[in-house]
Symmetry: C3
Subunit: 360 residues, 3 copies
Amino acid sequence: MFVFNSWYIIAEPGELENGGIVGRVILGKRIAVFRLASGQLGALEDSCPHRRVPLSLGWVEGEILRCAYHGAEFGADGRCVKVPGQKAAPGRAKVLTYPVIERLGYIWVWPGDPAGAHDESSLPEGFGPSGDPAWLGGYGHIEAIQSDYRLINDNLIDITHAEFVHPESFGGPEVQFYRNARPGADYHDRGMTFEIEDTIIRFRTHAARLGQDGGPLWRSMLAESRGVAEWLEPIDFRMDVIWSAPIYTSYRIQVRPCDEPDAEPVEIYNLHAAVPETTTSAHYFYRSVRNYGDASKNAIFIDAARFVFNQDKPILEAQQSALGTSDMFDDAPISFAGDRLQLEGRRILASLAAAEREGI
Amino acid sequence: MFVFNSWYIIAEPGELENGGIVGRVILGKRIAVFRLASGQLGALEDSCPHRRVPLSLGWVEGEILRCAYHGAEFGADGRCVKVPGQKAAPGRAKVLTYPVIERLGYIWVWPGDPAGAHDESSLPEGFGPSGDPAWLGGYGHIEAIQSDYRLINDNLIDITHAEFVHPESFGGPEVQFYRNARPGADYHDRGMTFEIEDTIIRFRTHAARLGQDGGPLWRSMLAESRGVAEWLEPIDFRMDVIWSAPIYTSYRIQVRPCDEPDAEPVEIYNLHAAVPETTTSAHYFYRSVRNYGDASKNAIFIDAARFVFNQDKPILEAQQSALGTSDMFDDAPISFAGDRLQLEGRRILASLAAAEREGI
Amino acid sequence: MFVFNSWYIIAEPGELENGGIVGRVILGKRIAVFRLASGQLGALEDSCPHRRVPLSLGWVEGEILRCAYHGAEFGADGRCVKVPGQKAAPGRAKVLTYPVIERLGYIWVWPGDPAGAHDESSLPEGFGPSGDPAWLGGYGHIEAIQSDYRLINDNLIDITHAEFVHPESFGGPEVQFYRNARPGADYHDRGMTFEIEDTIIRFRTHAARLGQDGGPLWRSMLAESRGVAEWLEPIDFRMDVIWSAPIYTSYRIQVRPCDEPDAEPVEIYNLHAAVPETTTSAHYFYRSVRNYGDASKNAIFIDAARFVFNQDKPILEAQQSALGTSDMFDDAPISFAGDRLQLEGRRILASLAAAEREGI
């Protein structure tokens, strides 16, 4: 079940430097995305109309993309502008194009009806720091997780699993207060509030004194920013999460010493997107950006994000393997109190997909 | 074609020490088998009713099994007894259970109608030494042989293939007398007799003077038990085989020096089970236990059993690859005289499966 | 789409020395090809009629082929002549045979109606040097390219792709004259002429002065034959290509110094066959034989041919992956001027297959 009319991350900017080209399947569509010498981005169906060779096997030369097999040249508008050794290019050799933009630190394409692409409101909330050079951070992604993107989405909306899946980093027995979200917009000590607005879910949690049973990760932020080896005292911890349909989750974490309520918080944004590849697989893009510390440590943060995701991956792939081609909710699984927001996310996705099918 | 109403080996006891848990697919069913801290065994459908995560990814804590994803707790009776951070466990969260027992040196489950599980008569004959600590031996298994379990069964009932497939160990030109089995219960020198009783086939062979063309393995038994480097003289050799439907084969081998007819024989039991995984794959469990020698050599015997099976494996998998999803006997293959008992085994299996389908 | 009534390469002679046996799937048929001790070749359906074990897992003993599992013995005529330990061989145990010959340096089988096999006219033109010991060369093949054999065929008929896919060896901007073939039988400087006769396409090209932008390979022929480290001057270059349906392509290359028009040319034949395995995979057999130089360098030429093909392989497999089970021409791709002969080859294949289907 896909929502086509939305902007989707297709590549990291670092993959498209210097005339780069990347072929990726998203939402079941083979797409070649590339950057011409002038800097212009292009996104074409990843198939030469001559003999179906993926255009992503080719290369950029100046302002054209050249097919790897017979050297046919295409513009970013999909037109075949030249065939080597042949006077005229065949007029009907026009490759399907996709709207493509660079925003918020990523390259995005619009796989749906191009008429809707002018509306950038489907770009996610909370991804602002992703494109902001004032924030330190790196990029990471894992291709072709063998899991329906919605299972990864469920995982990202659901912070309650941290207690059992990620105890080495940000889980632990102390974070059971992540359950039982209540409507609202305030911070409650050891509580969670949420608001739902159209296709966006916002929720937040706060612990005025989060101790060692809340996992070491958030305390390590204070340690690094203060230049000390470790921070063993409890901390004031706030997490603000924004899930923007169809697939974007932004976690903003702010920590302070408990006895410095007016201190500027140390902040990290963890940004995630599970871009559907097929109905049973997804590409997982992630960033971890922060407003403190030392750029030489960026790789550590990206490695840590990958380590954490690799704890989720076997679970996600085992779920998919159990489901086969059926849907998680076909068979009426039991839900827990902590699933409330995850179920809201599923409801929003189903509603967007139904509206698309009905042409609303 | 499966026979569900029978006890099936699902795990070696060594896999379930100390709160261990194993997930295995048998007869097409995903099953998690585990041992609680009290020693009680449990066998549950390997799927959390919350979000379909295999319970075998989780772990035992005292008397409960905890799901790896959200920490839900299940008893060995399949009931969800607690969901972390939630007051009441959802009443309908009940996981399917399978009867499970420990007998004869293995853990067994009953994948069929539980009403029949009280009857332990389907436990195989001849597996007695498997659970007897007075016998030396080890455990081995190979997961997911890509072969219908019935092809492995055929192989185990059929000792005539040893001449060509296992010449380095117990085959050779001298054992052509394994063919042409005749009804009876006696030992005949260089002959074979068999009896069939309901779902059990018993057969035996004897050679009063088995020489070097009968393979080195049986003579090496005498060598080891007498503490000599090798035994080159002919030996008195007896093999008693019991095949118990659906999948159990026990080979009891007794050897003596030819000139010591009253000596206590040196004995080995080789025990085999090809537990169906899917209709085209199987788990192969094996043991080799003996009443002589030195426990430090157990691993050698298990390695030897694996070596021998790895001579069969490419044949078995090539048969399956040739068959695809069709049945060996769909296409009326030619049979040889040596196939008599193998065909009886197939007949018994087909009859058991038919009776199950008809609810007899 | 297969053409069954033709001779197909199934093995290199070096694979069938000394009682050798090879199992290979061609045109969807599993075939065991072997050489008896007397030198007689045999080709049987690769399946023992007893229990479907591939006969190619067995071995040749003198004048019989023995099954690996129960030792049944088969003659090259497919008859089961003996079952070990059994007086009479079962009369109906007859394995399907295929006509098999050794010609032109290869072992060939005829997978179609055997009545047509006496006609050796389907052996390809231009493969003569392949079996001629006066020519130096080696053998190479790659099994199971994941590509419809027709895509490889297209690639072999189409020399225009060399400019972009093989610039390190025989491509480069200078060879754009490979396009725009005109009917004829003469050499034209920097032109190409072709003739089509029934199921054979012949074409040739000539460059009176081929320079460094034509790739280094042809000049290296002169260097080696003259015993010099390199040959930087332009050369007189002639290439004669014969494509014989269904799958054979012979390239004869002759080079001379430009100022020695009467010199004996230095010659290489590059011979290629993409033997269909399934409808979406093929075995690729190739040779490179030459009339000059040093036999110790044969391996270099075979490695070079493999290097070149490994530049094509990702393209061919990407085409197949894009097509799935559909046909390249189902979807009316655009063709270029340089595709003329490739399209003729497709037309000839389609016509041969249609005639077979209609029993013409």
